[in-house]
Symmetry: C2
Subunit: 206 residues, 2 copies
């Protein structure tokens, strides 16, 4: 591995293959993902990927894991840079949907169970770490007395469902069949409505 490109060993084939998956999805959609095409793009033989990932689901499991890590980073940044719990709650929601729309080459794989190895510990951990950020945001609004007498876990799940639903629906393009409104504007409108879940008062009686 002095530096040559035609070395027998690739150097970091694992990373190259994961990158290739993203490329393929952006170029031709999830349906076009194949071990052989990823191998082709990485410049290796057709069955090299199996040595790193076992099988196709192994590759996609690793890819989804990487997606959840990026996902977590973006939500964490949103949480950290918000001035108060209410703003953080909203920022996380926007980060969730933004990630889904802008990095859908990850998002589309992350929530497709049949493409993953079942009970993969790394994937599960990455997923849990990502949603821990969302749960932390809900914990903070609850502590600030902004959820009234609602069950915080229920608030968290409701918020999660709403942003997840927005993400998946927007990705399919379905909403555009029912309104001429710009999808970005529509998104903001839906955010406003869905935040009715938060109590208006500030010095709330927890």
């Amino acid at each position: 591995m002095t530096k040559g490109k035609q070395a027998y060993h690739h150097g970091d084939l694992r990373t190259a293959l994961l990158d290739a998956v993203g490329e393929i999805i952006r170029d031709s959609g999830v349906g076009a993902v194949s071990l052989r095409e990823a191998a082709r793009r990485a410049g290796v033989s057709h069955s090299a990927p199996a040595h790193h990932f076992g099988d196709k689901n192994g590759l996609l499991t690793a890819y989804a894991t990487r997606g959840f890590e990026i996902f977590r980073e973006q939500m964490q940044t949103a949480l950290d840079s918000a001035p108060d719990p209410r703003a953080a709650f909203q920022a996380i929601g926007r980060a969730y949907v933004s990630f889904a729309l802008e990095r859908n080459e990850y998002f589309e794989i992350m929530f497709r169970e049949e493409l993953h190895h079942s009970e993969d510990p790394e994937l599960d951990d990455a997923g849990r770490r990502a949603f821990a950020v969302l749960l932390e945001a809900v914990r903070q609004v609850a502590e600030a007395g902004l959820v009234g007498d609602k069950n915080p876990m229920h608030v968290a799940m409701s918020a999660w469902a709403t942003v997840h639903g927005m993400a998946t629906l927007w990705l399919t393009g379905a909403p555009s069949k029912f309104t001429d409104e710009d999808l970005g504007t529509l998104l903001e409108g839906v955010f406003e409505v869905s935040q009715t879940e938060l109590v208006e008062a500030e010095g709330g009686a927890a």
Copy 2:
């Protein structure tokens, strides 16, 4: 076609193939769906399906269309049997999630764009007819003054996103990683929270 089973012509192969798709998904998941397996289950040759559906996406497009029709029926029933707009709104939400969970052999195909023929008029119509029921429910709660000063279309999209998100998240089993609560109970809790979007007053000033 006197009655024989070994007749050269099947009789209703189209329906048999659509049924077969559902069987395959229930038995082995969406990944196991193939034209050849559907043909096998219908007892015809491997390329018979192409004459009815053109290609694999054609079969799945027809299958998704049938799914949206059943979906619409169930939401319409929920809407019709509710005593008032608020109850109708809630009933539709429950019907949406129930359909996704109980008939997920349809749901998983219906919202997977890459499996459909693009801009298929029958599929689009079936989808629009289904969501028209949800929109009608929102129209009724708006007319009853239950949405405050919110934009009814935004309320509709928010409700849609929430139930759609619940459906897809519950199907992945993700929520069970964050709570021990029974998923049915959790579902009801989330419904309660998300219905905060509706105004409490009854003789609302529309």
